[in-house]
Symmetry: C2
Subunit: 348 residues, 2 copies
DNA sequence: GGCACCCGCACAATCGATGTTGCAATATAA
DNA sequence: TTATATTGCAACATCGATTGTGCGGGTGCC
C-alpha cells in the first residue's frame, strides 16, 4: 500500500507474472493496440496502483526523446505582468499534461542564452520566451536544435510570436492621458511643463518602439507635434528611471502635465518620486502606465493603465506552437483600464 | 561549428577515435581520476565544443538517479511575497548549478499532492514547499520516496522548516497600528469602532495562528483584552475578504480604528474597499499588513508592513537541506517597515 | 489433415549517459 | 631477463522505460 521504495515496471512484471513490455503497455494505455487482454491490463494496473508505482520520466524521456517539460523564460518574477503570465502559463501547461518550468533571466542576454541551453539539455518539448532581450539569437539556437518555440511580448522575425498591439494600446493610453490633462495654462507655455513625457523602456526593442510610435501618433494627432525630448526610453532599471524622473523634474522646474510610464518597474519609481512631492504640485497631473498593476487603481492619483491579456497571449502562443513551421505574428488587443473618477480623487 | 543536429558522446567518440567512456570522463571532469592523459581530455573537450555538444540530462539522470532539478511549490505567482520567493529561489538554485522548477498550486491540497508526485516522477533532487495547505501529507510522501524536502513559511512538524517569526512580527505590527491610532474618542466607546481587527488568513495554519497570537498579545498588553470578534480569519480568497470587510463596516456602522491585513490578497481587497469610502471616514484609520508590497508605501494612507526576508528564508532552507535528517525549525525575524510620515499624508 | 491467420504475450534492441573491470603497453624493480 | 607496477584507455553492464519483432497455440477454412 505504501510506496516505500521506488518500483519499476520490472518489479511489477515479476509480481504480476507478466513481462516488462506488457506492463509498460498496460500502464501507458497502449495495451489495446498491442493486443493485450483487457483482464491482464486491468490486473497490472491494479497491482501498480497498489504498489504505488510511478513512472520514471527520465527513462521515458530518454527513450522517447520528449520530456513533458515546457520552458518559459522571462525577465523577472516580481512584476505583475510577468507573474500573471506565469500563472496563465502554468494553467495552460498543466491542462495539457505538461510540466511548466519558468525561469527568470534578469533581462540579461547571456543569462537568457545559457538558460535556453540548460533547458534544451533537459529535452524540453517546447520553449516560450517572454520579454526577451535577444530574440533572434535565441531563435537561432532553438531552430538548430529543432526545438519548437514561441515568443511572447517581444516578437522575433524568425519565429512565431504573440504580442500585444502595443501601438494601438499606447495610442489609446496617450489619448486617455491627454483627456485628463488639466486645463491649459498659458503660464507654462514653452517651459516644457505643458507636455507629456514617455518614460522607460528600450527603444531598440520591438515592444517599446511600437509603444513610442503610438505615443507619437497620439501626440501628433492632438497637438500637431511630438518633440524628441518627450521620449525618454531609459531602460527598465529602477535606479535609472528614478534618476531620469528627477532630472526631468529639475529640468522643467516642476512636474510635467502628464507622464506615460512604459513598464511597471518605471511606474513604481514614478510613484516613489511622486510620493515625496507636495500635493499641490500633483494637481492636474495626468498619469498612465503601459501594463497593469491592481494597486494602480487604489492610488491617490487617477492612473490609466493598459492591461495585456496574459491568458490570451499564452493561449495563442500555444496554438501557434501547434501549427508547425509558422513564423506568424499574432497580435492581441490590450484592455484599456481607465481611471474612474473616484470619491477620493481630489479633496479641494 | 553549428550544432545542427543533436550530438551524443558516441559521435564524439567516433570523431575523436576515443571510446564513449573516455569522452564521458573527459567531458564531466572525472578524467584525472580515471587516468586519462591530459592531452586526450583536452582534445576531446575541444572537439565537443566545436561540435556544439551538450549532454543529455535525461540520460545522465537516468544513470545517476539525480536530475539537477529542484522543485518549489507555492500557492500563487501573482503575490509579491511569493514572487520574491521565486526570485530568490531561482538565484540560489542557479548558483548551485541546479535548475529551479516553480509550480503554483492555488492553495489546493489535492493539486499540491499531485504536483509533488509529478515532480517526483522527474527525479527532482529536492523539494521546497512554501505556504503549503497540507504539509504533513506532503512530507509523508516525500519521506516515503526519500526525497529531501524543506518547508518555508508554513512549517511541518516532521520535516525541516524555515519560517518567519510570525508571532513577533505580528506583535510589532499590531503595536505600530496601535501607535498610529487616532486620539481616543469617547463617542465611539462600546460601538466596536474603537477596536482594531485582524482580517484574513486561516487559523488552522501555523503561520496564521502565530500571527493571531502576536496580535492578541499586543492587544492584551495595551488594552488588557482582545475580543474574539476582533479576529476574522476568513481565508485568502479575495471575494471572501471583500465580503468580510463590507460586513464589518456594516456591523460597526463605520470604519474601525485600525485593521491588520493578514496577507497581501486581503490587503488588496481592503484597499479596494477603502478606495470607495469618502475621505473623511478614513481620517485616523490605522492600517497594517503582514507581508510587504512596495505599492503599500505609495498609497494615500500610511501603511505599516511586515516584510519577510525571502532571501534569507530561501538560504536557510537550502542550508537545512544540506544537514541531513534534521527536523529542525529555523525562525527568521521579519523586517518591520513602518509607514513614514509623508508630505502627502493628510491635507487637512 | 494441412495451411493460413489471429491472439496474447515475451524477447531484445534502444535511448545516452556513467562507472567498474580488465587488458594491453610501457616503466620500474629485482 | 623476468616479475611487478603503473599508465592509458576500451569493453561492457547498467539505469527504466518504449517499441519492433517473433513465437507458440488456438481457430477457421478447404
Amino acid at each position: 500500500m505504501k510506496p516505500t521504495q521506488k518500483h519499476t515496471i520490472y518489479d511489477i512484471a515479476t509480481r504480476s507474472g507478466a513481462s516488462a513490455s506488457t506492463v509498460s503497455a498496460a500502464l501507458n494505455g497502449t495495451w489495446k493496440a498491442r493486443r493485450i487482454k483487457e483482464a491482464t491490463a486491468l490486473r497490472i494496473i491494479a497491482l501498480a496502483r497498489e504498489m504505488g508505482y510511478s513512472v520514471n520520466l527520465q527513462a521515458r524521456g530518454l527513450r522517447t526523446a520528449r520530456s513533458g517539460l515546457v520552458g518559459l523564460i522571462l525577465p523577472e518574477h516580481n512584476n505583475r505582468f510577468f507573474s500573471d503570465l506565469s500563472q496563465s502559463f502554468t494553467l495552460e501547461a498543466r491542462a495539457r499534461g505538461q510540466c511548466p518550468v519558468i525561469i527568470a533571466t534578469a533581462r540579461n542576454p547571456e543569462e537568457e542564452l545559457s538558460t535556453v541551453r540548460d533547458l534544451m539539455a533537459y529535452s524540453i518539448d517546447a520553449l516560450f520566451v517572454a520579454g526577451a532581450a535577444d530574440p533572434q539569437h535565441i531563435s537561432k539556437i532553438c531552430r538548430a536544435a529543432q526545438l519548437p518555440h514561441v515568443f511572447i511580448d517581444q516578437p522575433c522575425p524568425d519565429a512565431p510570436s504573440v504580442i500585444t498591439d502595443n501601438e494601438t494600446g499606447a495610442r489609446q493610453l496617450t489619448e486617455a492621458i491627454i483627456d485628463t490633462l488639466a486645463p491649459h495654462s498659458p503660464a507654462l507655455e514653452g517651459t516644457g511643463r505643458e507636455k507629456i513625457y514617455l518614460l522607460g523602456g528600450d527603444a531598440r526593442l520591438h515592444a517599446s518602439s511600437r509603444r513610442i510610435a503610438g505615443f507619437r501618433a497620439a501626440m501628433i494627432a492632438h497637438f500637431g507635434r511630438c518633440d524628441d525630448d518627450q521620449v525618454i526610453a531609459c531602460g527598465y532599471e529602477p535606479q535609472t528611471a528614478q534618476a531620469e524622473i528627477r532630472a526631468l523634474h529639475a529640468r522643467l522646474g516642476g512636474m510635467p502635465a502628464g507622464l506615460f510610464a512604459n513598464s511597471l518597474n518605471v511606474f513604481e519609481e514614478v510613484l516613489r518620486f511622486l510620493s515625496r512631492r507636495p500635493e499641490p504640485e500633483l494637481r492636474g497631473f495626468s498619469l498612465g502606465c503601459f501594463d497593469y498593476e491592481p494597486y494602480g487603481e487604489l492610488l491617490r492619483l487617477p492612473v490609466h493603465m493598459v492591461r495585456q491579456r496574459h491568458r490570451e497571449l499564452v493561449r495563442r502562443a500555444w496554438e501557434l506552437l501547434e501549427e508547425p513551421g509558422s513564423t506568424e505574428l499574432v497580435t492581441v488587443p490590450p484592455e484599456l483600464c481607465l481611471a474612474r473618477p473616484r470619491v477620493l480623487r481630489y479633496e479641494g
